[in-house]
């Protein structure tokens, strides 16, 4: 099931979009009518997809909101907005959206715009999670080690890069496995990194 967050300050429009999504896709939705609501909802839902209006609370805060959330969460974005000037579209492009839909929008346009993105989300599984932040689950050093593991470095190579002893690195790897509830073997960690590598910043 794909999790979708709709950020739209006109609630009637948001309800319309919600209805369309629910009838066309196997998804769960949530509506946020302001940036503040969006931030809270983001942490609760960890959505795969964000449908976002650019015009929130009388300003162009949609783009800022997306840029801000991108630092902490992995998700796809579709902007749905009535703005069609070149400069605003360019600004929005900087936030790397999956699509850009221009209002007024009807059921078919919405379906087509969202369909492509949802199929991509279902195929690659690189969205719908928060990035690993330092000092939450892992320490700085552990995150750095995870990055190096993602780069396919051996324990020996990691030790040389970080100017630490091989045994220290081993200890760190054990700690990471414990935190991730993995069985203490090399392959388990490698597998985890292969699956979740994109969430390591």
């Amino acid at each position: 099931m794909v999790r979708i967050l709709i950020v739209e300050d006109e609630i009637i429009i948001a309800r319309f979009i919600e209805r369309q999504l629910q009838s066309n896709f196997n998804c769960s939705t949530r509506i946020a009518v302001s940036s503040a609501e969006a931030r809270t909802a983001m942490a609760d839902v960890l959505p795969h997809l964000l449908l976002c209006d650019i015009h929130l609370e009388d300003e162009l805060s949609g783009i800022h909101l997306v840029s801000e959330l991108r630092r902490r969460y992995a998700f796809e974005v579709i902007f749905i907005t009535s703005y069609q000037t070149r400069t605003i579209i360019e600004q929005a492009a900087a936030a790397n959206p999956a699509n850009y839909l221009i209002k007024p929008i009807d059921e078919m346009q919405l379906f087509a715009g969202v369909q492509l993105v949802i199929s991509r989300i279902q195929s690659n599984g690189q969205t719908g999670k928060a990035f690993l932040q330092p000092n939450t689950l892992f320490s700085d050093t552990e995150l750095r080690i995870l990055q190096l593991i993602r780069e396919k470095k051996t324990t020996q190579e990691i030790a040389e890069t970080l100017h630490l002893s091989r045994y220290t690195i081993k200890n760190h790897r054990h700690a990471i496995c414990r935190k991730l509830d993995l069985r203490d073997e090399n392959n388990a960690l490698l597998k985890w990194v292969a699956e979740n590598g994109v969430f390591i910043k």
Binding site: D9, E10, I11, I12, R15, V33, S34, D58
Partner: protein, 612 residues
């Protein structure tokens, strides 16, 4: 000359009288044989005069130089013909009209023999010199006249220069002229005093006192010269080490003056002071020479005139000193003339120097002024240039601003047109929707569909009202709540309550305003509330009434209450009909970031808390 004819006697105590000596001629010895005695003793001189029978000149004058007191007794045989008093220090009242301070006119008659007795008392401590001369009055007066006219000419010149310097000083206030004035005053008075005129003019009755001033005039003049050199050559600033020595010069002059006046006043020993002064001269000479050597190389054209003057003074001083060494007291006869001529030369040199200096000052001043003028002109040119540049810049920027203004005005006009167009479209479209739905209303027979259609017409009406209120430029972007509710209520009543039975009670303070952000949501909520009430609450109600109240809770919080007195049982009966209404109201309240509570009293009562 009578010197060789005199018989002389030294009278140390001054007790002898003329008659005693006349009776005792053997006491006198020839002057050549007289042993050298005390300079201050009384001396008696005697000689015999034989007048010729054919005398053409009736007056014979006995003259001398310098002797302080001389008594002249003239005897014919034993009888006293005349007793005349004279001498350099003799008061005027002692001297008869025909005599002077340094001469007497003897009343000699032709063809007779006289015996001449002179009592000489010289108080100045010089060895007295008995240079008595007997000559005809005419030849003596001629000599005196020559000397006096020469003196008068020189002193006149000095006076003129004095006045000239005084005026120069008064006019220019140039300090060096004051020093020059001191110099010329001192030396001029010294010359006048040395020649005896000072005594004649100011102390005729007490010549000894008048003579006391003589040397001090010279010192005064020297002080002037010292000051002149000091300031003109700028010794104080240019040669501070040398000045450390030179600054004691006035003290030295003062000390010597005080010494002279004490010695001369109490002892009358002019010979001693003269000797001291003679020994002082080399000191002053050395000072002058040292000053010349020290400063010469740095002196400019004007300042060198002063140096020439000092050299002349030095030479004159040397000459006077030498004459004084050889002639002793008799040098007083030539010194004044010498001095006066030297003063004139020196004064001319000094005055030329000062004039030159002033001219150079003037030249320098002119040069500076010219430079200053040039600078000012240059500055003016620069300033003008700057002003021009600035003006040009301003012109350019003005043009640019004009262009921008024009462009802005154009753009403004365009924007206004666009906004009007947009406004028109929005209104038109809303009107189209409203008209379309209204047209469809009679066609739809199904009750439920009619209700939905009516609800939508009401909402579009609310939107139209909001649009109309908001895009009124004069009122800004706020809408009066009271006005808004009244108008909306009227419209909705027209749609649902065609008979107009429902009372609408409003209690809304006039000042409450809604921001544009919230107006539409609020309008939709209101429309939904009215629709609900009209549709469900007042079926067969005898006295339908709607109450609308608002009050401000705080600066940013508004409480809004909507209540009807309708049939609350309807809520349960028409449960499914509320499904659209209440959630929409909740959603819209959420969008306004507000709170909503529903309560049942007589009818339904909705209470909203909305941030403004």
């Amino acid at each position: 000359m009578l010197k060789s004819h005199f018989l002389a006697l030294e009278d140390r105590k001054g007790t002898l009288s003329a008659t005693e000596l006349l009776k005792n001629p053997s006491a006198l010895v020839p002057l050549d044989a007289l042993p050298k005695g005390s300079p201050t003793s009384y001396y008696w001189l005697r000689t015999t005069l034989q007048t010729s029978k054919m005398a053409t000149d009736p007056g014979q004058v006995l003259s001398f130089t310098n002797l302080s007191y001389v008594d002249v007794f003239l005897y014919q045989g034993d009888s006293l013909v005349s007793h005349q008093q004279t001498g350099a220090f003799r008061g005027r009242n002692y001297i008869s009209e025909t005599d002077g301070r340094l001469y007497v006119t003897l009343p000699l008659e032709p063809g007779k023999t006289y015996s001449l007795l002179l009592q000489v008392h010289h108080t100045k401590h010089y060895q007295p010199i008995f240079d008595f001369t007997l000559q005809t009055r005419r030849s003596y007066y001629r000599k005196v006249r020559v000397k006096e006219s020469l003196d008068a000419a020189l002193q006149g010149a000095v006076c003129i220069f004095f006045v000239y310097t005084l005026l120069s000083w008064l006019v220019t206030r140039y300090r060096l002229y004051l020093w020059l004035l001191i110099f010329i005053t001192g030396l001029g008075l010294y010359a006048i005093s040395s020649a005896g005129y000072f005594i004649d003019w100011f102390f005729p009755d007490d010549p000894a006192t008048g003579w006391l001033f003589n040397k001090h005039f010279l010192d005064f003049g020297m002080l002037g010269l010292y000051l002149l050199v000091r300031d003109f050559w700028k010794i104080r600033s240019n040669y501070p080490r040398y000045y450390a020595w030179l600054k004691w010069m006035p003290v030295l002059l003062l000390a010597s003056s005080v010494t002279y006046i004490l010695i001369e006043y109490f002892t009358g020993n002019y010979s001693l002071t003269n000797t001291i002064q003679l020994w002082e001269h080399p000191l002053f000479m050395a000072l002058a020479i040292s000053a010349l050597i020290t400063c010469w190389t740095n002196l400019n054209h004007a300042q060198r005139y002063l140096a020439y003057g000092i050299i002349v003074i030095g030479c004159t001083g040397l000459a006077i000193t030498i004459t004084s060494l050889f002639l002793h007291e008799r040098s007083l006869a030539v010194a004044p003339t010498f001095g006066a001529i030297a003063i004139l030369c020196v004064f001319l040199l000094f005055a030329t120097g000062l004039k030159e200096e002033m001219r150079q000052h003037e030249v320098a001043k002119q040069a500076v002024l010219k430079e200053f003028n040039n600078l000012q002109q240059h500055q003016n040119i620069i300033l003008e240039k700057k002003v021009e540049e600035r003006t040009e810049e301003l012109k350019i920027s003005n043009r640019r601003l004009q262009k921008q203004k024009f462009m802005l005005a154009e753009r403004n006009a365009k924007i206004e047109t666009l906004i009007n167009e947009l406004n028109h479209r929005v209104k038109n479209n809303l009107q189209l929707l409203y008209s379309l739905l209204s047209l469809q209303l009679p066609i739809v027979k199904d009750g439920v569909s009619r209700d939905i259609l009516k609800g939508n017409i009401g909402k579009i009406r609310a939107m139209m009202l909001v649009n109309q209120k908001l895009f009124n430029f004069e009122n800004g972007h706020n809408v009066s709540l009271c006005e808004f509710i009244t108008e909306l209520a009227v419209h909705l009543q027209k749609i649902y309550d065609t008979k107009g039975q429902t009372r609408i009670q409003q209690n809304i303070p006039a000042g409450i305003q809604l921001s544009d952000k919230h107006t539409l949501s609020f309008g939709l909520i209101l429309s939904e509330l009215f629709t609900n009430t009209f549709k469900h609450a007042f079926r067969d109600h005898p006295d339908p009434c709607i109450r609308v109240e608002a009050l401000t809770l705080s600066d940013h919080l508004l409480q809004f209450v909507y209540a009807d007195n309708g049939n609350c049982l309807c809520e349960h009966e028409n449960q499914e009909k509320f499904t659209m209404g209440i959630p929409l109201i909740k959603d819209l309240t959420r969008q306004m970031n507000g709170q909503m509570t529903v309560s049942k009293d007589k009818g339904l009562s909705y209470s909203f808390t909305i941030p403004v």
